[in-house]
Symmetry: C2
């Protein structure tokens, strides 16, 4: 039986993004049980997997005892498949109903936590449209893409310690910037932005010194989530030459609470765009399995849709990013998170950042409520959602990453 | 009684860099006891602090039970002072001799481990001489310092997962580079280099969103160690525009096994160099306590001294780096490590990297054994040591960070 034909004993509409085709993992508490547990989203409920595994999958219960995904990530791809098969069975085989139904928590009662301990956080820059747009704005008169861009997936390390879960308020950062008349000042960022991205979560570690091949992507990467890589453009523009972004990014990076397993994304795989020049052998996926992913993101600002970035057009895939990241011998650890870079498509309505949507503030976004934005205002709330094609016409949902801008801290 | 007058019941020469004025912390095992323990270096021995605290400081024994410095770092500055006072007493008061002497392990029998779990790793760029030298080589014809350099301590996040302890072999990384005739190739780095630095280890966490002031440096930073930030210059040069160093640095960063508490560096504090322009208020230490540190580094290549970088001349202090790093609201975690950037002085013999010592390979180093080096060869061993002024004419030693270059991995 393929997953396309699966049906659950729960009353879930076939169109629900959290049907049995998805089964994403998260970590949650409830008001009456403050100890954190691992959950799987199913419809509008959360299955308490920590409790379910204790009785129904005792041989793997240890993976869920601590209530985060850390142990599951480290357990490797065989364990991931085994647990997913078990959870699928519990939710589709009527005989488990009596045991499992009491372990379902309404999603509205669950407080979602950061699902795993972030080891190293890397942010890539893999959308050609985004890179070209930023190059045109920041380096006018020169080639918008730097000479290396089509030879390797450009990336940099971000701050793992400030990755926060959806719903965490984002304080407007303060920092140094240079004003248009050349004065250097310190104060709250005046150009606070978003970056709509997907993030990939590493499970299985790799051996120090040994690269991970493109073909081994699924052995190491557990799943994907939505990332909002908040960016203070004024701080970033002043600080980033020559060593790259630092404080313009390090104040907060928000992730969705649900990690969608790669196994749920099999039907979303598509060919990546053609590459020219052909990548060097360790990055060449022409004859490898395709890791383009047809995932549609949507960005809403104070409830109004402002962009629909298409992930399928990303120039570099996550498999290439992983192969590049490890090609120099850097080892992977469970909990490493690497994000795609801003997802921007070719159309203006597909751009994944405000700096692109407003063309560096030159064309403010006019919202249906009559207000306009060049960048984010205090009190603004940004919600990014994402969904992919699932089996049999279903949708595989990623949930959302949400963030409300709070005023800058002052002493 | 000041520490200047302390004497120990152990038979240690007054000139020993690990006298009672130093008391650095590390983590070790021995062949007969493979469980890791916290140690304090004293002379040519290591005091098993995990065992000593269990009997002599039971109220704090939990800080050492796991055998790494993690719990001690998180315990905060009051605990640091209390433990240092206790260890000092054990080693100077004859009445503790019978209890403590059996807990001393010859240093030659101790295998030193990475002393703490690295949370986020940040590398700065704080030596003006180093930044000018690199600017002259990489951006000839333009101002060697970028416009931001004297306004803020430039830094970037590195890879925490590849920070390794002294003695760990360093595999030559492979990576992409562009050859002088413009071809893009992948292979073992041909320009493998060192960067001699000091690293600062954060203990007390900070509140997300709230900057740490210059004056609070000692509340948050536990101590310092030696860092060798290995760098593949060819990989770095090709990848680093526009988002900064990535694979050119992420294959390995070596740290010394001993973390010297700030308390041991009180006599090494000196005025930092004059700054022009005067830094913005949050970075202005003109009226604050001085955090310049008179620490002399020495770099030896295959046993031959090749450089003596003076830390006292660093333009930005560690206190300023901490204030900058948190000025946008990024929180600190126990185990955050931030390194100074390459320490280079004004003289050619004071440069902390081979790219400076050989002026980008133009003037190879000729070693006393008759060989010469532009960059590192397989089999080369680099040892960096450091020492500071202690009380009463003593020396506060940092020990060493050692690394042997192993050939590139091949499948």
């Amino acid at each position: 039986m393929s997953t396309a034909e699966l049906s659950t004993w729960l009353d879930i509409p076939r169109t629900h993004p959290f049907g049995v085709q998805t089964l994403p993992y998260g970590s949650f508490t409830t008001p009456d049980a403050p100890r954190r547990r691992v959950g799987v989203a199913i419809g509008d409920a959360v299955l308490d997997v920590t409790a379910a595994a204790a009785s129904l999958l005792p041989g793997r219960a240890g993976l869920f005892a601590a209530g985060s995904l850390d142990a599951l990530l480290a357990a490797g791809s065989r364990a991931w498949a085994e647990v997913r098969a078990a959870v699928t069975m519990w939710l589709t085989d009527e005989r488990y109903r009596d045991a499992v139904a009491p372990l379902l928590v309404p999603a509205s009662r669950a407080t979602m936590l950061l699902p795993f301990t972030v080891a190293d956080y890397v942010d890539f820059y893999a959308s050609e449209h985004h890179a070209v747009n930023l190059g045109r704005m920041f380096r006018p008169g020169s080639d918008p893409l730097t000479p290396n861009w089509k030879h390797l997936p450009i990336g940099y390390h971000g701050r793992a310690g400030t990755v926060v879960v959806s719903g965490t308020p984002v304080l407007r950062p303060s920092g140094q910037r240079r004003t248009p008349d050349g004065e250097v000042v310190f104060g709250p960022s005046t150009r606070l932005d978003i970056e709509a991205e997907l993030g990939f979560v590493v499970g299985t570690p790799s051996t120090p010194g040994q690269p991970v091949r493109l073909a081994d992507f699924e052995q190491h990467v557990f799943g994907a989530c939505i990332v909002n890589d908040w960016s203070a453009r004024d701080i970033q523009a002043w600080e980033y030459v020559p060593l790259g972004p630092f404080l313009g990014k390090s104040f907060a990076t928000s992730v969705s609470p649900w990690v969608v397993p790669l196994a749920a994304l099999a039907h979303a795989r598509v060919a990546p765009p053609p590459r020219n020049p052909r990548p060097l052998p360790h990055l060449d996926d022409a004859d490898a399995k395709e890791w383009g992913l047809d995932v549609e993101l949507e960005v809403r600002l104070n409830g109004h849709p402002v962009s629909r970035p298409p992930f399928a057009g990303m120039y570099w895939t996550a498999a290439q990013q992983l192969a590049h990241m490890t090609s120099g011998g850097a080892a992977l650890r469970p909990g490493d998170l690497f994000a795609s870079g801003t997802v921007s498509g070719s159309e203006p309505g597909q751009r994944g950042s405000l700096i692109e949507l407003t063309w560096n503030g030159a064309h403010p976004l006019v919202l249906p409520d009559g207000t306009s934005r060049e960048f984010l205002a205090d009190g603004d709330e940004v919600v990014i959602t994402a969904a992919a094609r699932g089996p049999g016409g279903t949708t595989v949902g990623f949930g959302e990453v949400r963030g409300l801008i709070a005023p800058a801290w002052s002493r």
